[in-house]
């Protein structure tokens, strides 16, 4: 099927056209980073207003880039949750309007389900696989048995990995978004320079904790004020990043060894981080696991990834009506309920 997909759950407004859940025809992402930068984070009121301003041109651009009109679209996919109601509703309302006006099937997709399958736009991964989703709001390990069949193996008990990057960047007085800045500075530093904790590293679980690491950086900075430039800053960034990577790698390894599964997918915004990619690559080489990480553009929030599970559901006859509402709270492992229809 040729699907038009829409995503507006957080900072990005995005629309994409995808053929058969595998071939990306267009993927337009309007980032709100510039609008948010002065605030050091997302201001939800700005977020929903900006989504509203750009949603129509973004959809038009997605169709134009794919050289298609709405006549050629066979179904509509939209991120239904979780996220901020005001932001989600902009995408959902647009999706419902198009589906209703054109008589097209519509399906709402869980945002994280999109991340799990983003890599399918570049390569097919056999089931089952282990997925590590790392972003500002998520640090979760899932066992993926198929579309709609997910089990949570572990998750963060406090801060998400991306949140730790952003908060540490703020502690160090670095600009937003902090993750990319820390990655760049860390590449010039010595990752063994500052001893930082690796919380829950050897607790035997697949759970994560990054709040203690953030606090350790804070305590270090209070005792050793770091100049905003130069070697000391680079070393601290490198040491912090290495601690995050060590924990992510060790937990992914536990999940793989525990389940005996030999395929790992890493997704979400933090999967853009160069040290995360290198660490996962090294791990998978050592233990003989097939590693799949989407290109950076598909790691960040985007609409194309939403079309992948949507293709599956629509083919199964699973669809939503125009009464579909935003699900601000939506645990991923409850998605399977729709499979019993």
């Amino acid at each position: 099927m040729r699907l038009l997909a829409i995503e507006s759950s957080c900072d990005e407004t995005s629309a994409a056209v995808v053929q058969d859940g595998t071939t990306l025809l267009s993927n337009i992402i309007a980032s709100q980073e510039a609008a948010h930068a002065p605030f050091g984070g997302v201001v939800p009121e700005i977020a929903s207003r900006k989504h509203l301003e750009v949603i129509t041109p973004v959809i038009e651009q997605a169709l134009a880039k794919a050289s298609l009109s709405l006549d050629a679209v066979e179904g509509i996919a939209v991120t239904q949750g979780p996220g901020l109601a005001g932001s989600l509703l902009v995408g959902i309302s647009a999706a419902k309007a198009i589906a209703y006006a054109r008589g097209l099937p519509l399906v709402g997709i869980h945002h994280i389900e999109g991340h799990l399958f983003a890599v399918f736009l570049e390569k097919r991964v056999e089931f089952p696989f282990i997925a590590l989703v790392v972003s500002g709001g998520h640090t979760h390990l899932y066992l993926v048995d198929g579309f709609g069949r997910y089990r949570v193996l572990g998750q963060t008990r406090d801060d998400a990995a991306g949140e730790a990057f952003d908060k540490v960047a703020k502690i160090l007085g670095l600009p937003y978004p902090g993750g990319a800045v820390i990655d760049r500075l860390a590449s010039k530093g010595d990752h063994t320079a500052v001893a930082l904790p690796r919380p829950l590293l050897r607790d035997g679980s697949c759970n994560f904790s990054f709040s203690g690491l953030k606090t350790a950086v804070l305590q270090f900075v209070r005792k050793n004020p770091v100049p905003l430039e130069g070697g000391a800053l680079h070393d601290l960034c490198a040491s912090f990043q290495a601690a995050v990577v060590d924990v992510l790698v060790e937990k992914a390894k536990s999940a793989l060894l525990e389940t005996g599964i030999t395929r790992l997918v890493v997704a979400g915004g933090v999967a853009c981080n160069s040290a995360v990619r290198a660490g996962m690559s090294k791990l998978c080489g050592e233990i003989g696991v097939e590693l799949s990480i989407p290109s950076p553009i598909l790691c960040t929030d985007n609409a194309a990834m939403i079309a992948v599970p949507a293709e599956f559901y629509l083919k199964e006859g699973i669809r939503d009506g125009t009464e579909m509402d935003a699900k601000t709270v939506w645990p991923l492992d409850t998605v399977s309920e729709r499979m019993k229809v």
Partner: protein, 159 residues
């Protein structure tokens, strides 16, 4: 100003749990203090005190802004960390939760200005050592004065 002192992350959660056990629907707890001061750990304790299952992770809502939990009483865990500047919180519809059937715990609550309910308990977390935290308690409304007295009685400062 009444205060309690915690010497560890675990003690911070235990103090939160004591408070959680005393709460009832409609209560509003405003938390303030720097990054790494223990606001999320405290809220994890409040969740346990409200009967949220220990199997449920009460994680930071910094990105999601609001996480909801089911317990003896529903818990609405807000985090306004990313609301720097003049973001208009009223547009988010959060005030609908503030007088609802659950307990609201709001991190970075000082970013609420006119939206703060008339009666509330406010706890400010102060870093006084590597693991030591001082929690200074203020309030508006007599019910919260009684809650404070009870919490201080349960967690007296060690000599």
């Amino acid at each position: 100003m009444p205060a309690v002192v915690s010497h560890s992350v675990e003690e911070t959660a235990a103090i939160g749990e004591s408070l959680g056990k005393l709460l009832r629907p409609g209560d509003f707890i405003a938390l303030a203090g720097d990054l790494g001061a223990g606001k999320t750990h405290f809220t994890q304790g409040v969740a346990r005190g409200l009967g949220v299952s220990p199997d449920i992770c009460v994680a930071s809502p910094s990105y999601t802004l609001l996480n909801e939990y089911t317990g003896r009483i529903p818990l609405y865990h807000f985090d306004l960390y990313r609301l720097d500047g003049d973001g208009d919180i009223r547009d988010l519809g959060f005030d609908e939760y503030f007088s609802g059937r659950g307990v609201c715990v709001v991190e970075w609550a000082d970013r609420l200005v006119s939206e703060l309910p008339e009666e509330y308990l406010r706890i400010e977390f102060i870093l006084t050592g590597d693991t030591e935290r001082r929690m200074e308690i203020s309030w508006n409304g007599s019910r919260y004065g009684k809650l404070t007295a009870e919490l201080v009685r349960m967690h007296p400062a060690k000599a």
